[in-house]
Symmetry: C2
Subunit: 640 residues, 2 copies
Amino acid sequence: MRKFTVYFKTPGKTVEVEKGASLMDAARKAGVFVDAPCGGKGHCGKCRVKVLSGENRYRPSHLLTQEELNQGIRLACLTEVEGDMTVELVQTDTINDIIVEDITSNFDNHSRVKRAIEVLEKSGIKIKNSFDTIRIKLNEPTLDDNISDFDRILKELGFIVKSGELSCPVEVFRKMPRIIRQAGFDVGLVLRKEQKAYEILDITAQKDKKIYGLCVDVGTTTVASCLVDLSTGRIEASASCGNLQMQYGGDVISRIIYSTEPGGLEKLQKAIVYGTVNKLIEKMVHKLGCNHEDIVCSAIAGNTTMAHLFLGIPVENIRLEPYIPVFKNFPVFKAKDVDLGINPNATVYMLPNVASYVGGDIVSGVLASGLWSSDEITLFMDLGTNGELVLGNREWMVACACSAGPAFEGGDISCGMRAAPGAIDEVRVDARTFAPAIKTIGNTKPSGICGSGLIDLIAEMFLSGIIDGKGRIKQNTRNRRIRFNRAVGCWEYLLVSGKNTSDGRDITINEIDIDNFLRAKGAVYSGIKTMLNSVGIDMGDIEKVIIAGGIGQNLDIESSVRIGLLPDIDRGKFEFIGNSSLTGAYLCIVSEEARQKAGQIADMMTYIELSADPAYMEEFVGACFLPHTDLRLFPSASAI
Amino acid sequence: MRKFTVYFKTPGKTVEVEKGASLMDAARKAGVFVDAPCGGKGHCGKCRVKVLSGENRYRPSHLLTQEELNQGIRLACLTEVEGDMTVELVQTDTINDIIVEDITSNFDNHSRVKRAIEVLEKSGIKIKNSFDTIRIKLNEPTLDDNISDFDRILKELGFIVKSGELSCPVEVFRKMPRIIRQAGFDVGLVLRKEQKAYEILDITAQKDKKIYGLCVDVGTTTVASCLVDLSTGRIEASASCGNLQMQYGGDVISRIIYSTEPGGLEKLQKAIVYGTVNKLIEKMVHKLGCNHEDIVCSAIAGNTTMAHLFLGIPVENIRLEPYIPVFKNFPVFKAKDVDLGINPNATVYMLPNVASYVGGDIVSGVLASGLWSSDEITLFMDLGTNGELVLGNREWMVACACSAGPAFEGGDISCGMRAAPGAIDEVRVDARTFAPAIKTIGNTKPSGICGSGLIDLIAEMFLSGIIDGKGRIKQNTRNRRIRFNRAVGCWEYLLVSGKNTSDGRDITINEIDIDNFLRAKGAVYSGIKTMLNSVGIDMGDIEKVIIAGGIGQNLDIESSVRIGLLPDIDRGKFEFIGNSSLTGAYLCIVSEEARQKAGQIADMMTYIELSADPAYMEEFVGACFLPHTDLRLFPSASAI
């Protein structure tokens, strides 16, 4: 097979591929991130690159205009390499940009964390982890007192050496003699206590050494993390970025499909552990000036598929009926088992899953939300790449997952993007001129629309009569913002003209986008209805709605009710709790008993498999309208 | 720095080195074994190679004759590379040859193993390990019964999932979904039980799967191993070869010195784990047709330095007063922690050390010998590269190590070699003609003399009057076997002329060799005396002498007494037990309680640091004579 070289000019990386390989393959092989929500199947149009030179064969697609083709723009997944090529990235997505937050001013989880801890304490849960640093003074050895270094430590610790009572990993032994002598026989030890057993996790010559816990929320789209000082419980660093697995697909299903390709599972694991989480750790360690060894425990929350992929465990059965994951609870293991870039013997605790589509992120969120300790009937909603719902209180919980697709994070939408700088996250539309007013994250030139922007946009388009209840655009040929897109074969609304966008492309929304979005919101609403039906209560019985997940922060309640995503109930019942998955992971780091509580929460949840519930389909059909076919459910929306 | 290529013709390996590097460096870098008992310091003359072409600078040494130099023979450690070179190995040592024994006919440890087990059982020790294979039938999942694969297994196992009760490593999870379905939901599990905790070590679709335990005796010179069927206790394969660390030095001291060079410790660890033990495992696994994963536990016995190096733990303090090892007991760890080529989660148990120079091999040997359960005052001697001694019975034990050097394994002796095919292991000398009769291991042409051959040779030379009590050769110029070696500057005895040897070189023994050997045997005998003195008993009070170690098998008791290595007591008290270190490791594999007994034995031993004992030096001086300066100690020898 002939081989050719592809040079990616923007990040400056070169890779060799076989003739006929796609530019997408080349990018993945080179470690160059090219977004591919559809998994490289030619459906989403997100993997745009600019071919500067080199022979190639392009399979045509309606997703690019003739003008774009003339400029050399191609979809990477549809371009086959037929000679040495030079390619430029044109994407504006910033997945590789790691955002290290300024904790002191910006990390508003702090107050949420405090509230979550108060809830734990009120329920009698001790805020105590199992890690400790101690300092011991050893006698210097002599010919008459010539016991081994380790025995000298044990003697001082007052342990009787019996198998099982104290363990010490080989990595600590390897540095033990050097550290002991460097410290002048006055050493620090990092200890982990579990029931009656102790483990020496590190040995140090440093005085007052700080040790940290790592919390990670592994989202399908975005990964968020923080480092916690284990003695004070203070969050000392925090960082987030896109999940590098996005180059293999935008949602869990496309990742699962990719995992079954040869080497796919390993690549997905590397993408999340090496490519994403270890980079976040690197940044935070750098910021704090500490060592990787100082991070001695971690808690990882992610949906079931993300948790499996994080560990390199096959996921194909998650997608096939009857949807069987490999694990629900995962035994605590060590960082070195998955090459997580912290102390090799640090404990890694995975938040437990409930079922294939309700994962540890939801259990973590419910832990953080306090739902489990509340008397009020509470609806917990996590609207991320998937839509997961929990309904219940301290006595019972039901949970379900809606096949919402990635619409809430901008996937499956032609101009959609995740909530990163440049994303339009608020929209108002003038009912007369159809002219929009927009706000972008970071107040930069817009690059696309994120979930909360889409909700606003669709609500405003409905309110101003641009679209009808079915999401169809009214063919108003007198307004230039309403136009027919020949390539896609449907009508679209021009939100921002290319003159004013970051990459010169128009930002639009078309009927297919709207349809995708309506199915997403319909899936969520009908999920809520199905859960209520299963326990025999009504929308009105919901006493509290907790909205978590990436979309939560900027979600406009009125817009969401107007489009029929959220139930039309007293607005005072709604509460946003941000990234509750990360907060829950934090709780598991600072409190051993909170971890046990997380396990109880997972065991307590009754999972409803919506796809196996015939009533769900009926609910879904009605919920795909704006706001719903049954307007009695939306009195305030119909009142407008 | 200029770089040159060195091509080792014999094994066919090429390596690039910097100008001025020695051929020894080149060989080590290329992974070509060149023996170097002195650690590459130009003292031992063992690293002979033949330079076929290429510029080089040679530092002259008396260890090669002019004739050899003319033939292109060089010492690798004294030859500096100054151009591209081609080199041939001329060594006859077979360190890289792995001997896989035919268990059914040849492995005479079997009967020793049986006896050792009888001793354990008589003492009420259960012969039971903690591993088990079980078979479980799982229900096939449905939409109504959609618990995870792992929960399905747990349910069938009857466990309640609580942290700490059952663990399952990530490697098992990774194959779990595939194996379960491949097996049609009828799977085998390999379980390890420790107190109340269980660990799933493997999952298999295979019916009647066999699982094995690995036993290794890590000798400084020779490494021996076997695989044990854990359900029957049968030894199913056995293999041994030289310790590849020999290229970095022949005895522990030269290895310790090498370990302090940059990267030295890592190279020594790789040499023993990758280069030696993993290759033995490979051979045995191949022979049995099993998988590496089927080996689920291991027991490793070695001297303190070997145990540290096996784990990559620094050894430099072992050599420096007050001689402090890093550990005595090592907590049980997992194979993947040191890249041992068996099931990554297999337990690795290191036999406990007593002190820096009495290690796990001795504890293992004492366990195997039954000394710990005997009423008789027993002397346990392990004569390998080091000489270790234990004196005691069921109530007390003292132990010491003699700085014997590697003489008993052929090191420090110009024509010495380890007990491998081609080694002269028996010698008789005609008292009139001084003509020798020899026997070689494998009955091949001789290549050198091993330990038992040296003992015989020196005893016979003494008996026939070739040497006097100080080991000096009587300058008998009329016998052509007695000659002056100008290069070395002393007299020597010609044992085998080059005409009859495997490499055409004369096999000789000179006064320096004899002196080295006398100091080795003197160290052992004075060690025995010092131990007896420390507990206030005499040679005559010894009721049993157990001889273990590589030298044991072929050792001639009469010769050994005659030269004053062994005490001159009733010959019926002597017993050989072969490689008792490997037998002890075997016991620890088949019996959990035997492992605890090994720990008790190590704790029970009182270590005598001979170098700190002034009386030892006095004893030593007298013991360097043939047989001793105090002939009353050797009545039978003096009677001749």
